[in-house]
């Protein structure tokens, strides 16, 4: 960031405001291409992981080697599809819903630090901003469910909204102990606080067992946040056909599709950032790996864990979902917050 800023003010002689805008636009372009790439790669990865777990190959035909071009083909196909809006649908809401859902996850990408001082928007409330923005998705889902004038979509939207709102609480609570340890909400400070090898990462159960439990609370809440895995009530195939995005076709469905995988990668990156030491390499000797690559590898590993859970476990019913959140996850998260605080006080780890 600083490098680009100096480059713009230095060589190109822009004034402060112009340089800021230039830097922001460059970063925006980078962020969007990374997100589009991630959607395409994760789609292909999901189909391959699901395939091999179910003793079949997954896509093999397009692009010859293990069907790598399958996701690109899907995207082109979706773009080519006819854009149908149901007649009785509420046109305005119907069109705006997918944009809002995609917006929700794209905004959050801005505050993710990929490498030391390489982040689109570096401000002190980074983590808080991420959770605030990602709750926009709930409004998008409600809009989509209501606007498509389909009773099953309404069911999906109602379930989706209830699930995502209630799972934001354990999601945020799980991160509070980390913020206490790092002493700041700025993602960069959090990662810097985890400097040194794997021993200094927040997930380390020996330095603070409550943080270890908090990681799993975060991971389960993040699965629910992206409506995937055992918590895909809003878009169950067996009941609601496809939940809130049943009536969407063509480019609009691509937005939902993109948003789902962007959200998936987003929550995995936050988990990597907050618990697994961001861009730090696990062992001191591995300093030569570029920091961003470290970060992405951890993100992808967590995405694999997410997919692994999805393709194994059956679906939880809506009321059991709520019971799990309010009666199990929140109490345990609160316990983690209190426990981590006391633990840190006792061992003097507080900043």
């Amino acid at each position: 960031m600083k490098l680009m800023y100096d480059f713009f003010t230095g060589q190109l002689g822009l004034d402060a405001a112009g340089a800021n805008i230039a830097v922001a636009s460059v970063m925006a372009v980078i962020m969007f291409t990374v997100m589009a790439l991630c959607a395409i790669i994760l789609t292909w990865m999901e189909r391959k992981v699901a395939g091999f777990m179910q003793s079949r190959y997954g896509p093999m035909y397009t692009g010859r080697f293990h069907g790598w071009a399958q996701a690109v083909a899907d995207m082109l196909k979706i773009l080519g599809k006819e854009d149908i809006i149901p007649t009785e649908a509420d046109k305005g809401l119907f069109k705006f819903a997918p944009i809002l859902v995609l917006l929700g996850s794209l905004l959050a990408w801005a505050a993710i630090p990929w490498a030391p001082d390489f982040v689109a928007a570096d401000f002190d409330l980074g983590l808080f901003y991420i959770f605030a923005v990602s709750s926009l998705v709930v409004i998008g889902i409600l809009m989509a469910g209501w606007a498509s004038n389909n009773k099953w979509s309404l069911y999906g939207a109602a379930r989706g909204a209830a699930q995502m709102i209630s799972y934001e609480i354990p999601l945020a609570l799980a991160v509070v102990p980390v913020v206490m340890r790092a002493g700041s909400l700025n993602p960069q400070d959090i990662v810097i606080a985890q400097q040194g090898g794997i021993w200094h990462w927040n997930i380390n159960p020996i330095t603070n067992p409550f943080l270890f439990i908090a990681f799993f609370m975060y991971f389960i809440a993040s699965i629910a946040e992206t409506n995937r895995g055992p918590f895909d009530m809003p878009e169950t195939e067996s009941e609601l056909v496809a939940g809130y995005h049943t009536e969407y076709t063509g480019m609009r469905f691509a937005f939902f599709f993109l948003a789902e995988y962007a959200n998936l990668f987003l929550v995995s990156m936050i988990a990597a950032l907050v618990f697994l030491g961001g861009w730090w390499a696990p062992f001191p000797g591995m300093g030569w790996i570029p920091p961003a690559l470290n970060f992405i590898i951890k993100g992808v590993l967590l995405v694999f864990l997410n997919m692994w859970v999805r393709w194994t476990l059956p679906r939880v019913r809506v009321d059991q979902l709520m019971h799990l959140c309010w009666k199990v996850m929140i109490p345990v998260s609160l316990l983690c917050v209190v426990g981590a605080g006391v633990w840190m006080m006792a061992w003097g780890q507080l900043k």
Binding site: V49, G51, F52, M53, Q54, S55, R56, Y57, M60, Y61, W308, V309, W311, T312, L313, K327, V328
Partner: protein
């Protein structure tokens, strides 16, 4: 209160065991065949498309009578001795591959071939006229496909994907 924790432990335990199984399958060899490139070897009794050998058929009409869906159309002129068949057609749209027609054919001319993949662009070409020389050969039949050059020889099958019957 005990049930509360028992539930959690049971949930985590059974989830782990389930995940262990799915993970084990990742490094096992998948069992699926890549269809157009790999084909399953059909067993010897496999009932594919019905094929009638015109040289042996003597228009006795038994197969047409026996067919439960009446999809064999036979037209012939003349009495017993100089009975000449003018038309023999099998309507593959209706045929349900039950092989009842092949049972009581005393000349053994009607048989079930080993071909199963037969897609055409026009339903009409599924009504195959055996007596009509102009009509192209049945695209599904192995000989025709070898001629047209895109027959894929069924390789040795995967373990358990059908036995070693020869491909008639």
């Amino acid at each position: 209160m005990g049930q509360y924790f028992a539930d959690i432990v049971a949930a985590v335990g059974s989830a782990m065991q389930g995940m262990a199984i799915t993970f084990k399958h990742i490094y096992k060899k998948p069992v699926t065949l890549q269809y157009p490139d790999e084909r399953q070897v059909m067993p010897e009794r496999f009932r594919g498309f019905v094929h009638n050998d015109m040289t042996k058929c003597d228009a006795c009409n038994i197969c047409a009578k026996l067919c439960p869906v009446d999809c064999i159309y036979i037209e012939a002129e003349g009495k017993a001795k100089e009975r000449v068949m003018t038309r023999y057609a099998i309507d593959y749209n209706k045929c349900i591959w039950c092989s009842l027609c092949t049972e009581n054919c005393h000349t053994g001319s009607i048989t079930m071939s080993h071909d199963y993949d037969h897609s055409v662009y026009d339903r009409r070409s599924l009504v195959y006229e055996f007596m009509d020389p102009r009509v192209a050969k049945i695209p599904c039949h192995r000989a025709t496909r070898i001629e047209q050059g895109w027959w894929v020889e069924p390789k040795e099958d995967k373990p358990g994907a059908g036995d070693k019957g020869d491909d008639a």
